[in-house]
Symmetry: C2
Subunit: 233 residues, 2 copies
């Protein structure tokens, strides 16, 4: 599970919206975009909950934090709810993102189709490897040149990038993080298998791909235990 | 947020352990491995909670589901707790994993350092692109040859792989998923930006990288609103 490293965010709430609700908003947003694309005007809480894979009680509670209560027997207006969620998530503005580490993972992230469509613009790619520096990578139809990580400061300042993605090996992650923070980045998405230390006010989310497999392995094991229990019963 | 697509798993519990607790176990496991490597014998709930970035109340509650209560004033025995969590997660056995889609993301996943060290063995790499089929990819020191996705059935059967990773473009994801499930895979980690339909009993976890950025954007927006409020106050 990607975890927010700031301990406070697990227990507290920000701006009245609990972190668990925030983490489900992108899912609702995605489901609403699909409904909107199909021309749907109104959606019931059951339908929307189903599309997002949560219970309708949880959905209604989550949306109530946005001040959105729907109309009994009618449901929610798709376009208005979409706007409310987009505004809460900050999707009504464009965010500049820099990616540090342009190995296989960095390349995959730079080419990830979901970024541009959701308001994230990759404004810089950086690596320390001379073999990669100078390479042109196609990002959302534009060519972005991989630059020396030493030029990070300049790009962060000139673009106002506030989000940094770390896709470097473990050994360099903390140093890259320090450099990002020193130059004004306040949100970090960390793919390196290391816990980063950051000053207060900086948000880190860590994506640990092996954790996802461990959670699946837990369910696999339960399944095989159930089969075993049935066979020996 | 990676979401388990099975609606039931959001509300119910499996084997007495709530899904939210399961999703935190890998984090505790990682923290305990670090403590064990440093030779630590005992750890207090506060120390362990701190290392894992949760409150100690939450940690104690989570561990109580494993039947682990620690000793008041003493804490938890590191090695025993490690064993209990590893057993609960199914890490005491090796899991065979196949990866379908060997573009940049598939390459990155195949080379991900955390898989092998946590009991996951990549036994097959598959793609439909003739330019990729036949390529040798180094996975945890072994050479694994990328095979035609048509040969998937054979590998899944001969290796008993139960976990499949989908790193294909959106358009092929459902078809690949059907094929994995048809040949015996019961857990799927999905990186494609599409919701997969699976029969009951199959677990899907979806990793949506843009969702992680959206959650960071939410916090970024709150920060800028706070600065604005301070400036105008």
């Amino acid at each position: 599970m990607p975890v927010s490293q700031a301990p406070k965010s697990h227990v507290g709430a920000r701006g009245g919206i609990p972190d668990a609700t925030v983490s489900r908003l992108p899912m609702y947003h995605r489901s609403l975009v699909a409904l909107s694309n199909r021309g749907t005007i109104l959606v019931s809480s059951e339908e929307l909950a189903d599309a997002a894979g949560v219970s309708s009680a949880k959905l209604r509670k989550d949306l109530s934090f946005l001040g959105s209560y729907g109309t009994r027997g009618v449901g929610y207006e798709v376009e208005f709810l979409l706007y409310q969620i987009a505004r809460a998530l900050g999707l009504t503005q464009e965010w500049s993102v820099v990616i540090v580490g342009v190995g296989n993972l960095g390349h995959a992230l730079a080419g990830y189709p979901g970024f541009a469509s959701r308001g994230f613009k990759v404004v810089g790619l950086f690596d320390a490897d001379p073999a990669l520096i100078g390479e042109e990578v196609t990002v959302a139809g534009r060519a972005v040149v991989v630059r020396d990580v030493k030029e990070l400061a300049q790009t962060v300042r000139s673009t106002g990038a506030s989000i940094g993605v770390i896709a470097t090996p473990e050994a360099s992650a903390q140093q890259v993080c320090n450099s990002l923070v020193a130059h004004g980045v306040t949100s970090i998405l960390n793919f390196a298998t290391v816990l980063l230390e950051v000053p207060e006010g900086v948000h880190v989310r860590r994506v640990d791909l092996a954790t996802e497999l461990q959670i699946l392995a837990f369910h696999e094991q339960r399944k095989s235990q159930m089969v075993l229990a049935q066979e020996t019963a």
